[in-house]
């Protein structure tokens, strides 16, 4: 994909609508002046498009922040609840991502995949005793890891449809097929947007590498490892829809960093069923 084409897409992404469920909920909640701030934040932070737009705004050069803001709660404290609410409102009034589309992509199922990946990343991070103030970063990476697919769906549905069809049999990973058909994969596309929108570097890098096997001397798990694991656990759980049916086990290097494999990590996650049910509340109409 040429640089000009990428720049053109970035402009279009500015006007990208959010997911049907959150559009419906945000419109419903904001029509009541006394809506619960906590519940509104919860709806916003479970929609990848709303989250991207709010983080883009708060991290833009206009504010010149010394350090990046990586959570919706932080954006609320910094900009104020009303500003965050109105950024969400201006996005939801654009319209909504279509529930059915020419690419044959299940939008609601995809949102569930994003939320589950976010939730599982967070749960694994908690299990690994990541400091509590960093936990949301892992949720965020899980939520946004596939944002590139939304771009393909919205702006190049024909090519994406072809890629999705070829990925259906699960013999090849979707991202490799995308590279052949679209010329860029969704991880690279997501990274490109996050870099152009001035989002936190760790987030961008984790999006970029969420299908990669990273070799490093580090004995500690990498940020991107969590979303890799969450992504594969979503497949094992057979919950949600990502368009990708190719299972990639944890590479040995990653197993060493965690001191265990995927099944052991899965077994260690408490309250997973309950978390899956909660995730469904934010995605299923």
């Amino acid at each position: 994909m040429t640089e000009d084409k990428k720049k053109e897409i970035i402009k279009l992404v500015e006007k990208m609508p959010a997911f049907p469920k959150s559009v419906q909920r945000v419109l419903e909640m904001t029509s009541d002046i006394n809506c619960s701030p906590r519940e509104l934040v919860a709806v916003i932070e479970h929609d990848p498009v709303l989250v991207m737009k709010i983080l883009k705004t708060v991290n833009s050069a206009y504010f010149g922040l010394a350090s990046k803001i990586t959570s919706i709660n932080h954006a609320v404290v910094y900009l104020g609840l009303n500003a965050v609410k109105n950024i969400a409102l201006t996005t939801v009034t654009i319209g909504m991502l279509p529930r059915s589309n020419s690419a044959g992509f299940d939008t609601n199922g995809f949102l569930l995949h994003c939320i589950l990946a976010a939730t599982i990343s967070k749960l694994v991070a908690k299990k690994q005793r990541v400091p509590h103030e960093e936990i949301f970063d892992y949720f965020l990476t899980g939520l946004l890891h596939d944002i590139g697919k939304v771009v393909f769906l919205r702006f190049m549905p024909e090519k994406f449809k072809k890629a999705l069809e070829l990925a259906k049999d699960g013999k090849q990973p979707l991202h490799k097929i995308e590279r052949k058909i679209i010329g860029i994969d969704h991880a690279q596309m997501g990274y490109f947007i996050s870099a152009r929108w001035n989002l936190p570097k760790t987030l961008g890098e984790a999006i970029r590498h969420h299908h990669d096997i990273i070799k490093t001397d580090s004995k500690k798990p990498l940020h991107t490892d969590y979303v890799y694991i969450a992504n594969q656990l979503c497949k094992k759980l057979q919950a949600g829809y990502s368009g990708n049916f190719f299972f990639q086990d944890m590479p040995n290097e990653m197993k060493e960093r965690f001191g265990m494999g995927l099944d052991e990590i899965w077994a260690g996650l408490e309250d997973l069923d309950n978390e899956i049910e909660k995730s469904k509340n934010f995605s299923i109409m």
């Binding site: 701030p37 906590r38 934040v41 705004t57 708060v58 833009s60 206009y62 504010f63 010149g64 922040l65 959570s71 709660n73 932080h74 609320v76 404290v77 910094y78 900009l79 104020g80 609840l81 009303n82 500003a83 109105n86 950024i87 201006t90 509590h132 103030e133 949301f136």
Partner: protein, 293 residues
């Protein structure tokens, strides 16, 4: 440094016999330093009276700092006579608006359109300039420094610190200390609490030791219970901020529009009785009151 109040009322101009003493005009404060520029904080209806006063000093150079663009802080600007007189220079500073992505010039130009006002911005005779500020960006006006910090209000609000010749003042604009939207049993409660503490500490550090703090005290603590989230502070929250930041003098402002002169003085007298021995000295902002530092 000379500070003068031209409007101390919050939300809506409130003229009448009940508000004669403290005044009914909405927010406008002037700060005189080396005399080259007239520094003005906010353009509520009080700026009209300031404008009349400045007619004796033409031509004038004004640096107008807008805390935020809610009506009671900007709707005096079309009635600020110096903007219609050639030879005057008015530079307006303010924050970027992140929701509709508009800079301060675009927003203020919008209130000078056909359906709101008979004169268009392009027809103003003074030289008008608009400067969008980032948080903590310092504007140097001769030897005077003006710097804004983000406060907490339903729109972006800059509190401004003015420093000159070893003296300093800070005006909050409209400010409600942020409160935790979660309850202690919620997962995010602790994180949110830490974010609030960080923000409050940043404000305290920023205004630490100023000679004069002018602070939004719209409500009493009892009234606040039903006004949470409206974006305004209380007399108590102002005193807490003043004491934590070790300021010398605190002026209560943004008087609630329904509050009469008697009501204001009754609240103030109670404060003096209970807190009169505090290190910080407490005063009521009053239209026409001048502070000489």
């Amino acid at each position: 440094m000379k500070i003068r109040f031209w409007g101390v009322r919050g939300s809506i101009a409130s003229p009448g016999p009940r508000t004669v003493k403290y005044g009914g005009n909405t927010t406008c404060i002037s700060v005189e330093t080396d005399g080259q520029y007239q520094i003005i904080l906010d353009a509520g209806t009080g700026i009209n009276v300031l404008g009349q006063h400045l007619l004796k000093k033409l031509p004038v150079k004004c640096a107008l700092f807008i805390t935020h663009t809610h009506w009671d802080h900007i709707n005096g600007l079309p009635f600020f006579v110096p903007i219609f007189i050639p030879g005057n220079t008015i530079t307006v500073f303010g924050a970027f608006e992140p929701v509709y992505k508009k800079n301060i010039g675009e927003i203020l130009t919008n209130q000078l359109v056909y359906y709101y006002f008979p004169v268009r911005e392009a027809e103003l005779k003074a030289t008008m300039r608009y400067v969008t500020l980032k948080e903590r960006q310092t504007v140097k006006i001769g030897e005077t420094k003006v710097t804004g910090i983000l406060m907490s209000h339903p729109i972006l609000d800059f509190g401004y610190k003015v420093e000159y010749n070893g003296k300093s003042m800070f005006f909050t604009g409209d400010h409600e200390p942020p409160h935790n939207i979660y309850t202690p049993e919620d997962e995010y409660y602790k994180e949110y609490e830490e974010l609030i503490t960080q923000k409050e500490q940043a404000i305290i550090d920023f205004i630490s030791g100023v000679d004069v703090l002018i602070c939004d005290s719209s409500y009493t603590t009892a009234e606040y219970a039903s006004k949470k989230g409206w974006g305004h502070g209380t007399f108590d929250s102002c005193m807490e901020l003043a004491n934590k930041a070790n300021v010398k003098n605190l002026y209560f402002t943004h008087h609630e529009p329904m509050r009469s002169d008697d009501d204001i003085e009754r609240i103030y007298n109670e404060i003096i009785q209970t807190r009169g021995n505090d290190k910080v000295k407490y005063f009521l902002a009053q239209e026409g009151l001048e502070i000489d530092l």
